[in-house]
């Protein structure tokens, strides 16, 4: 366990998971007594396939229902008592509270261009009402600084074209998430299928957000990303968090390394 300065934890939102259980056809996939996410800027969630990482992420987002237990968002971190029980929220309200997750599998809006996707994410709801049929220019101008930034940063080609390659769609998914201005960002294998230099850019952006006060939780098989980016790592196996510590501590743990990660990955 690491003792990070209090400064970082003060206004950083956190998510508290208590007695959260999920099983699929009798097999317990996630069984967590107590887990606090968001105490440090960037947390990693690692573990072998089937450890329950993605399911846990989906449970937080309420796209997978809980068998029992509660998941609570504490917008001001641990300090404040008022929490928002995420499992009671309809899924579209998550983004309103700043809880945003990127998708592990590629998700895209067929027929929408890259520009469309970014504007959809960035545009304020007031522009999207049925009677606002002349508001495109306003919405575009208001969002253009941000959308331009991501178009350039992630190297999208023609914004009026469709995202074609898998990597491009993945990047677009991340860009959509970032444009929502997340307070608590969950990234599920964000760099899978991305070339190295793009991965570096995504990580840089995540680091920037985290420095600005967003809590980030990242599930990733590319362990280099985890070691470089995370302040703390949770190691999951068989639905539980079996170990928690700094990247250095996890890497130094022989059992974990031998049993799950393999020598080459450390």
């Amino acid at each position: 366990m690491t003792d990070l300065p209090d400064l970082a934890t003060k206004t950083r939102p956190s998510i508290r998971i208590q007695n959260a259980v999920k099983s699929f056809s009798g097999r317990v996939v996630v069984d967590i007594d107590e887990l606090n996410l968001g105490d440090v800027p960037v947390e990693g969630l690692i573990g072998p396939n089937g450890a329950g990482k993605t399911t846990l992420m989906r449970m937080i987002m309420h796209s997978t229902s809980l068998d029992r237990g509660t998941i609570t968002l504490l917008p001001q971190g641990d300090a404040s008592g008022d929490g928002i029980e995420l499992s009671n929220l309809p899924s579209h309200r998550m983004a309103h509270h700043g809880v945003v997750k990127s998708n592990q599998v590629i998700m895209d809006f067929e027929k929408l261009t890259i520009w469309d996707s970014l504007l959809l994410s960035a545009a304020a709801a007031k522009y999207e009402r049925p009677h606002r049929i002349f508001s495109e220019d306003d919405a575009f101008d208001e969002a253009s600084a941000e959308t331009e930034r991501y178009l350039e940063l992630f190297g999208f080609g023609d914004p009026a074209a469709f995202a074609k390659a898998a990597g491009e769609k993945k990047l677009l998914d991340i860009a959509r998430c970032l444009l929502l201005k997340p307070r608590f960002l969950l990234l599920d294998e964000p760099t899978a299928g991305l070339p190295e230099e793009t991965t570096a850019k995504v990580m840089e952006e995540v680091r920037r957000l985290a420095a600005l006060g967003t809590s980030v939780v990242i599930v990733e098989h590319n362990l280099d990303v985890i070691w470089n980016l995370c302040d703390e790592v949770h190691f999951m196996a068989e639905g539980r968090v079996v170990m928690k510590g700094t990247p250095a501590e996890i890497r130094a743990h022989r059992t974990v390394v031998e049993k799950y990660l393999g020598e080459g990955h450390v």
Partner: protein, 316 residues
């Protein structure tokens, strides 16, 4: 102006084209953008027509036409919108099959109510007493003027839809239709979006029903047959369900071809008009639908082209 070439048959044909084009364009918002396959178009059209007609005929209004028409048409539009809200609330969360059955069921309910609520609707015999809200000199002139009114209303609908494609709202509808869970994860309240879309477009269908009722001067349940839904659906799919002009192009090629060209200009034996032609019409529309789905599933105009649109909007 010499209107000799324009006989009542022809006006009626043009009027049908205009109304079906309007219905198809509203259906385009539901089916083409938000991917809600409404098979109960005629239900909303019919409930608008009947609500308008009953209020127009049965209520003793303290004012005359055109106010009487305007107030009653507004009420008909509202009733259809409320019906859309209720039906939308029931189906917005359902899959395609549920939407299909739910909307079809609603249209059937409207038809049955129009037939059985004799006190109110005149039952199967129907109800007269509707008239044009103006008199510009003779039946034909009134019908021609009414055609212009309907064309204006449908032009407004098409303009609205054209603008929707060029607005954040249109983008939102396409997103909801393409990937609802993803739209939800971006904070879009997809249920509410679909619900309001359904209510608004149903209200528009109700207004078209009121216009249609005036043109008929008589309301009867046979006006509420599934052929109207089919005409709108076939026109839209044939023209291109994802395109603003899809329904208009489709309706010209189907209803236009049949109701104008075949019925007015081809030497068809007189005795065919009552039975053979309507059946041939449905068969031909059905065949057109099958052919287009086989050989050009996204319709004659093709799929929507957001890439071209975005280029034209944001790259001068």
């Amino acid at each position: 102006m010499n209107l000799d070439w324009l006989d009542s048959f022809l006006i009626y044909g043009f009027f049908t084209i205009v109304i079906v084009a309007g219905l198809g364009t509203l259906l385009h918002l539901q089916l083409g953008l938000a991917r809600m396959a409404n098979f109960g178009v005629v239900g909303f059209f019919g409930i608008g027509m009947y609500a308008f007609g009953i209020l127009y005929v049965k209520v003793d209004w303290p004012f005359e036409d055109p106010w009487q028409f305007l107030v009653c048409a507004l009420c008909g539009t509202l009733v259809a919108g409320i019906a859309g809200l209720v039906v939308g609330w029931l189906i917005a969360d359902m899959n395609e099959d549920g939407v299909l059955v739910g909307t079809l069921g609603f249209a059937t309910a409207v038809f049955i109510l129009a037939t059985t609520e004799k006190e109110l609707t005149g039952g199967a015999q129907g109800m007269g007493g509707l008239n044009f809200p103006f008199d510009v000199g003779g039946v034909k002139a009134n019908e021609a003027a009414w055609l212009i009114v309907a064309t204006f209303v449908v032009a407004l609908i098409i303009f609205y839809v054209w603008r929707v494609h060029r607005s954040p709202y249109g983008r939102l509808l396409v997103a909801v239709g393409a990937n609802e869970p993803l739209a939800r994860s971006l904070g879009k309240p997809t249920f509410r979006i679909k619900l309001w879309l359904f209510a608004i477009s149903s209200a528009g269908m109700g207004l078209l029903g009121a216009l249609y009722g005036v043109n008929e001067r008589f309301m009867r349940p046979t006006n509420l047959g599934v052929d109207i839904t089919l005409a709108a659906m076939v026109a839209l799919v044939l023209g291109g369900s994802a395109r603003v002009w899809g329904a208009t192009v489709g309706v010209i090629l189907t209803v236009g071809f049949f109701d104008i060209v075949v019925q007015n200009y081809l030497p068809v034996p007189r005795e065919w008009y009552s039975q053979a032609l309507p059946v041939a019409r449905e068969a031909l529309f059905g065949a057109a639908l099958i052919l287009v789905l086989m050989f050009r599933p996204s319709g004659i105009l093709g799929d929507m082209r957001r890439d071209k649109l975005m280029r034209s909007l944001h790259r001068d």
